[in-house]
Amino acid sequence: MQDRYAGSPSIGRRRWLLLGGAALWSIALWRRKSVAPSTADGFLVVNGWVLPATYFATERA
């Protein structure tokens, strides 16, 4: 019976390729410098307004 995986990476190698690809992708995402303020900065963006994340939890809301 012909080995359908002949010439292709082994299961183990493919797993490492996948893991390596995922790692590179994560690094690329991490390196991509997003400029929008986020909750990680402690801010929300609502209709363009840059507001502290606590803005709607205060009496102001």
Binding site: V35, N47, V50
Partner: protein, 482 residues
């Protein structure tokens, strides 16, 4: 002495020939004449504005974002100082220590080399003795400082120095004297002369021991590129001529409202060294102002103002922002004067095949924002918006192109033309060496903001004067031929 080139019969040989009678050229020429140098100062225009002279500038073209090369420069005695606003802010130590983003080297000289000429430059510009001041305190607890600057009268060089130019015995200011070519020696490494022409067909060659181009950042590059004899001599400095053009970026970052109790006054902040170092961004001014009246520009200004008035009167301006930008009187607006990074392949001055009245090839100025510039503008906007809120001053509404990176950033110029004959340690990275001498030509120098290796976060007139004073000292240190 001031003479009209059209009336001059005989031209003598000079110690130095300075081409261009704007702030850099006048400062340099008067400085050298005071040191005893026989100085020729060439001005293409007359003592006053004329359509005939200005038409030469108007023949320049723009691509990318328009920098308005026909109207931002003035081609008569005093040059562009005839319409500058007078804002002055010095370079900082960090500008000379930190290479700009994008891979090019920064300044090849130390900060002190420029700083020692600051007092004299301030005196020339009639700045107040107390120096550079802020109109508001720092943005507390953050990366943005209060911007410190000073305002010149503004000094009009053609007016202020007319008497000095007239009475100087060592200086000939030749009006209506248009440089049409730089004549490079066929075998040596020197300039032989400058070919000049008036508006009636008179042509002459002016010769000197040393030559200085001081025609502004667009023309300095233009004449280096135009010179066939320099190209034939394979002058190493020409590789960079016209490249790394820089402006300061005026971007409407958004709008703002002050918190209750905060005085509704204009404020000016500065994105300084710490922010630049931490975030990899440029430096520069962020201005907060309250819109006093409706303003529209362009051919449809009247229609736009009418529509804005309706939207503001009906208090629906906020709801129709998707149609156009309807800012009403009382709205807080955020403008900028931000540093642009130099680049080899981006913004630049190139020659066109078409020629002007004098047979000099016309230019095209391409201006664009690099990826690093766009990141810089967006990051400064975001950090500023957060810091403004943290400081309890109010809230910022960022423009949509700040938050959406797919949208192009609408930018307008400040008429600060820089970098086209950049200063570098070697011809691999620039046109002039640390003494402003063109690489490969022993007696050709460049004065003005075209030699800036980086643009910094301030206006260029005062720093370019500092460099002109430094160049005068350098030339004098070489000694003149007796």
């Amino acid at each position: 002495m001031i003479r009209d080139f059209q009336q001059v019969k005989n031209l003598s040989r000079y110690d130095v020939c300075v081409i261009g009678a704007g702030p850099a050229g006048i400062t340099l020429a008067l400085g050298l004449a005071a040191k005893g140098w026989r100085t020729a100062l060439l001005e293409a225009g007359d003592r006053e504005y004329s359509e005939r002279s200005q038409a030469i500038y108007q023949s320049a073209q723009s691509s990318g974002t328009d920098i308005y090369p026909g109207s931002t420069r003035l081609r008569y005695l005093g040059g562009t100082s005839n319409h500058w606003a007078g804002r002055c802010r010095p370079f900082e130590r960090d500008d000379f220590m930190r290479p700009p983003k994008g891979g090019l080297p920064g300044w090849p000289i130390a900060f002190e080399e420029m700083q020692r000429y600051l007092p004299e430059a301030m005196q020339i510009l009639d700045l107040p003795a107390e120096g550079f001041k802020a109109i508001n305190p720092d943005l507390l607890g953050g990366l943005f400082l209060a911007d410190h600057w000073a305002l010149s009268a503004p000094t009009r060089f053609g007016v202020k120095y007319a008497a000095a130019l007239q009475t100087s015995k060592k200086l000939d200011l030749l009006l209506n004297c248009n440089c049409v070519d730089l004549l490079h020696h066929s075998s040596g490494q020197e300039l032989d002369g400058v070919k000049v022409a008036d508006y009636n067909g008179k042509i002459a060659v002016i010769q000197a021991e040393q030559y200085v181009l001081a025609m502004g950042a667009l023309e300095n590059a233009r004449y280096l590129l135009h010179s066939d004899s320099m190209r034939a001599a394979r002058v190493p400095g020409l590789k960079w001529a016209g490249r790394s053009f820089m402006e300061h970026c005026n971007v409407g970052l958004g709008t703002f409202v002050y918190e209750e109790g905060i005085p509704e006054a204009d404020r000016q902040y500065f994105a300084g060294d710490v922010l630049a170092k931490q975030m990899g961004v440029g430096k520069g001014n962020i201005s907060l102002g309250i819109l006093q009246e409706l303003k529209s520009y362009g051919r449809t200004a009247a229609v736009k103002t009418f529509l804005k008035k309706i939207a503001c009167d009906m208090k629906i301006a906020d709801k129709v922002q998707f149609v156009a930008n309807f800012n009403c009187p009382g709205a807080g607006q955020i403008g900028t004067l931000l540093e642009q990074f130099p680049s080899y392949a981006g913004s630049r001055v190139t020659l066109l095949d078409e020629r002007d009245f004098f047979g000099v090839r016309k230019i095209k100025v391409h201006w664009e924002l690099s990826r690093e510039d766009q990141y810089s503008i967006r990051t400064i906007a975001k950090e500023f918006a957060m810091q403004f809120a943290r400081a309890g001053l109010g809230f910022v509404r960022l423009s949509d192109f700040i938050l959406d990176e797919k949208k192009p950033i609408p930018v307008t110029p400040h008429a600060h033309h820089m970098g086209t004959t950049r200063m570098a340690a070697s011809p691999d990275w620039g046109v002039v060496d640390k003494n402003c001498r063109v690489f490969g030509v022993n007696n050709l120098y460049v004065a003005g903001s075209s030699v800036f290796a980086t643009g910094g976060g301030g206006n260029p007139t005062m720093p370019l004067l500092q460099l002109s004073l430094r160049l005068a000292d350098h030339l004098h240190s070489l000694g003149r031929a007796e």
